[in-house]
Structure formats: C-alpha cells, structure tokens
C-alpha cells in the first residue's frame, strides 16, 4: 500500500490559481482554531491526560518500579502496599508496572490502525468525490455493505481465521475504518470539488491525481484531522475490546484489555488489579474524545 500523498507539497505551492493571500489566511485560521481548543476546559483536561499516557508509552521503563513480566511468587494477588502500589496479579506481577507498560501497545496499535484507515479512506473519498458517477455509486454501495455488518463480529470472524497478532489487529481495525473515513472525506471533498480554483486547475491542464492531492486535499485538512482524532479514540476502544475478547496481541505482552479479561474473575478478592487497567482505558478514551470534541468545535467555529 504505497499511497503517494506523503509527497504533498507545502500549502504555499498550491499553484497560481488561488489568490495569493490564501496560505496566510489559512494559517491565521488554524491559529485561531488551536487557541479555541486551549480555551475549552474539557479539551485542555483531555490534552493533559492524553499527554500523560503518551509520556508513559515512551518513557515507562523509567517510571515502572518493576519489569512488567517479573513474577514475585511470595506475593500472589497481593494487596496494594508501598512495594506494589496497585498490588500484584494472580502470577505475582506488579500491576502498576503492567498498566504503565501496557500504554505503549495501545498507543502504537491505535494510531497505526487509524493512519491505515485514514490513508485508505482519504484515497476512497477523494477518488469517489472527484470522479463521481457509477464509480462513486459502486464503491459507496460496497462501503455501505461493509459498514452494515457489526464490526466486532467481522473482527471476531477474521481474527479467528488469521490468528491474533499485532499486524492482524492493525489490519482489521484499519480496513474496518476505510468506509467510515471514506464517507467523511468524500463529503468534505464534494464541498470543494466545484469551486473556481479547481476549475482553474483543470483549465491549466493539471491531471486528476494532481488536482486531488494539491488542490482538494490541502483544503479539507480540517475535517480529515477531526475525523482522525475521533478515529484514534475509537481505535483505542476497538484494540481494548479485541484484547479483552482474547483476539488481540497474544500474551505475555502487557495489555490492558487482556489484563481485564485475565483478572476479572478475581474482582471479589482483589478489585484493584481489575480496576487499574479499567481506569487506564477509561481515562485514555475519554481524554481522546474530549480533545476530538474540542477540535471539532474549534474547526467549525
């Protein structure tokens, strides 16, 4: 899957057709949008929590008191103490260390799957919006058919066949996102397709591909970025759910969903070992959604 939009020229290279003031105006608008984001309290809270988990994902070996896989056979299902702040699990592993380390997997898989979905969806959305006609009709009907089927059932079926692995989880979630992202990109691209600067580019003799990538795409970055942020949140949701069902990355890698699946039968005896990964997922997904919501409002304003 080599998609050529990595070589998009910077926005100053939009071409001779649009007025000269456009790039500067867009920069101002983007600045306003960013400031609007920082003025929404809920979005700031979301940003802070997301940043915390991102720091954990990168630097957890510095904070984690133990190795996430180290077993202490003298402390199975130990209660929270100074030695183990969130206790230990049924195999004597430090829960705090596993939760901190688990952030890396979810924050690698979810953005990777989102990126795949965004690339595929952008491609589908641009092509269907630009060419239209029966091509648009057929592609969108196929997308509708994929979307109609419950995602978890589809994921369950495919992962049961392909076997759970990091790559397969990314592929399933990423391809599952193509129809949704494609629809959003298509709607945004339809909005600019008939504007004057597109006709100007066409008169200039620019190719369809070049118009899509240098004229349409730079002008719909707002909706694409918002869609991407929303999708990251749902990708975390999907990664956690698949892991919880035993369809995620196989053990022993520390993984929040799998931790909950393995330990929820101990919830009566030691609720903290279940609650720690649960609250980790909850804070991360809620935080990303708050950022996405703030971004959506800032872009719209």
């Amino acid at each position: 899957m080599s998609v050529p939009n990595l070589s998009i020229p910077p926005e100053s290279a939009v071409g001779p057709a649009p007025p000269v003031a456009l790039p500067a105006a867009r920069r101002v608008r983007r600045g306003v949008a960013l400031r609007g984001l920082l003025h929404t309290p809920s979005a700031v809270v979301g940003l802070a929590i997301t940043a915390f988990w991102m720091l954990c994902a990168i630097f957890w070996p510095l904070f984690a008191p133990y190795s996430p896989d180290a077993q202490d056979f003298n402390a199975l299902l130990a209660k929270p103490s100074l030695a183990h702040l969130f206790g230990t699990d049924q195999l004597g592993r430090d829960v705090l260390s596993r939760v901190l380390a688990g952030s890396r997997e979810v924050l690698t898989l979810a953005p990777a799957a989102t990126l795949l979905g965004l690339l595929g969806g952008t491609l589908v959305g641009l092509l269907t919006a630009y060419y239209g006609g029966w091509f648009d009709e057929i592609v969108m009907r196929v997308m509708d058919a994929i979307m109609a089927f419950p995602f978890i059932i589809l994921g369950l079926l495919i992962l049961a066949v392909m076997g759970p692995s990091t790559l397969n989880v990314i592929l399933v979630i990423g391809f599952g996102y193509v129809p949704l992202t494609g629809r959003v990109v298509r709607a945004a691209a339809l909005g600019v397709r008939d504007l004057d600067y597109i006709s100007a580019a066409r008169l200039r003799g620019a190719s369809g591909l070049s118009i899509m990538l240098t004229e349409i795409l730079p002008n719909i970055t707002g909706p694409v970025i918002v869609e991407g942020t929303v999708r990251v949140g749902y990708a975390v949701f999907a990664v956690a759910t698949l892991s919880f069902l035993g369809l995620g990355v196989p053990p022993p890698s520390p993984n929040w969903g799998a931790m909950i699946n393995d330990t929820h039968i101990y919830i009566q005896v030691s609720p903290w070992i279940v609650l720690a990964p649960t609250l980790a997922i909850a804070t991360l997904v809620v935080a990303i959604n708050l950022v996405a919501d703030g971004l959506r409002q800032a872009v719209r304003a």
Binding site: I152, Y234, F244, H264, I267, A282, V285, N289
Partner: protein
Amino acid sequence: MARFLARRLGLIALTLWLMSIAVFVITEVLPGNVAQTILGHSATPEAVAALQHQLGLDAPPPVLYVRWITGFVSGNWGDSPSLQTPISSLIPGRLFNSLVLAVAALIVIMPLSIAFGVLAALRQDRFVDRIISITGLSLMAVPEFVSGIILLSIFGIWLHWLPTSSVAAGGDPLTSPQYLVLPVLALGIVFFGYVARMMRASTIAVLGSAYTRTAMLKGLPLRLVLRRHVLRNALVPTITVVMSSIGYLVGGLVVVENLFSYPGIGGLLLTAGLSHDVPLLEDCVMIIAVIYMASNLAADLLYAYLNPQIRYSQA
C-alpha cells in the same frame, strides 16, 4: 407499501446470500478443520484425514457450501464439534437470552437518553447542557467491559446492592431479574451518548423552526408545544441513529456476555471463534445476520410509519 416491503425483503435475501458466501469463504481458510477440532491437537494427520473422510468433509468447497447452506435453511444444523452437542439445541435458547438482554437495554436507556437530550436542548449552551453533553461524550467512548467493571465495582463490591455474577449456568434470565441489571446497564450505557446527542441536535433544530415559533406565539403552553410539535419531529432522526447502531448492540453483546458469563449468542459466537469450531461459528454468524437484517427492516418500517414523506418516495 407492499412494493416497498417486497423490495426490501428481496434486498435482504440477496444480502444474506452474499454474506453466507463471504462467511463460508472466510471460514474455509481457517487453520485446523472440524476433524482436528473433534480429535484434539495431538491427533495424527492420518486419523484426522480418516475422520474428515468419514464425516464427508473432504468434498470440494462448492459441494460443502451447498450442503451447509441447504442444511442451514432447512434447519438441519448438525453437531458442534467442540461442544459435541447438536447446534440446533444450543442456538435458540442462547438467542432468546441475548434478545432479552438487548431489548431490556434499549427499554432502559432510550427514554433516559431522549429525556436528557431534550433537557440539554432546552438549556442549550448552559451549565446543564455542558454536563449532559460531556457525560454523554465520555460514556460513548468507553468500551462496554470497562463501564461494566466500573458498575460491578460500585454496585456489586462496594455497595453490595447487586450480585456480581450473571445468571447461574442454565438459569432463565427472566426468573432472576436482579442478575440482569448490571449486564443491561453495561450494554446500554454506550448508547446514552449517541442518542442524547442526536436528540439534542434535532430538538434544537425543531425549536428554531417557524412552526414551533407559531405554536409558542399563539399561546400554547410549553408542555403542549414540546409534546405535540417538538418531540414528534425531533424523534425521527433519533430513530435513524438508533437504527444504524443496532450493529453496535450486537457487538456489545459479545463483550458483555463474556464479562458477565451470560449464556447468550454472543458468548457462544466467541467460544466458537476461539476454539475454531467452524460449523458453530458459521451458523452463529448467519443467525446473527438474519436477526440483524430483520431488526433493521423493523426499524425501517417504524421510520416509514413515523415519517410519511419517505413512504412513497422510496418505494
């Protein structure tokens, strides 16, 4: 109306047929086969091949497909290799349990989220609206098993109000409703955000319309305007949202049934997938697809009933 219905039924039959081919093709690629599942991992390849032949499973794929789909349609579902029981004795009971869970979740969550959505719209951009919107946004971001664990910790372990396990194995969910409370809430809570959000947006749109202003200006009491003009019109887009999210509900069933060890079709499907039980997996997916299509059709009919504009234009 009859043509509308006939067209929809034809489309559903076509979709189900295509789906059955997709399911069959996907599961045919599964590593391990039915004979392997019955005999276990330590069986010799010769023994597996012999049993495969004995079961008639070494026929070419098109023959296997026709045999499966005719058996499925005529209700002759065969045995589950991993559970060693007839599939037809497993699915109906499990399906009923899941429907109880799903319907209960909708009945509990829908009125609640519609009410809060209208409240948020009436207090637009005020404190109450922000609180409802952020709560809804947060709840719809959280996976079912996460909200399930949090509910379980609060009501089961901390307050001791509700049992922490689900229905006792083989028990009837209707005779012990207190076991149903937590699974129902965990399943439904994701919807609160979607529905309340949609209801808020469509209520705001209707509140700004000319006919609402006329109704207000001619002196109708607010409660009457809300019931007669606002609610009736704002509900239509909300029903569309609920309709399109039936798929999430089916996915949620798999998760919630796994968390609470609830004996439903979602749990059965997961067991089939994890143990590579191909016949059970295929039949479960097809049954879920049939139910899913039927509920979509029911939702479409309800939508057409509520909104006469689409009744003829789409027929």
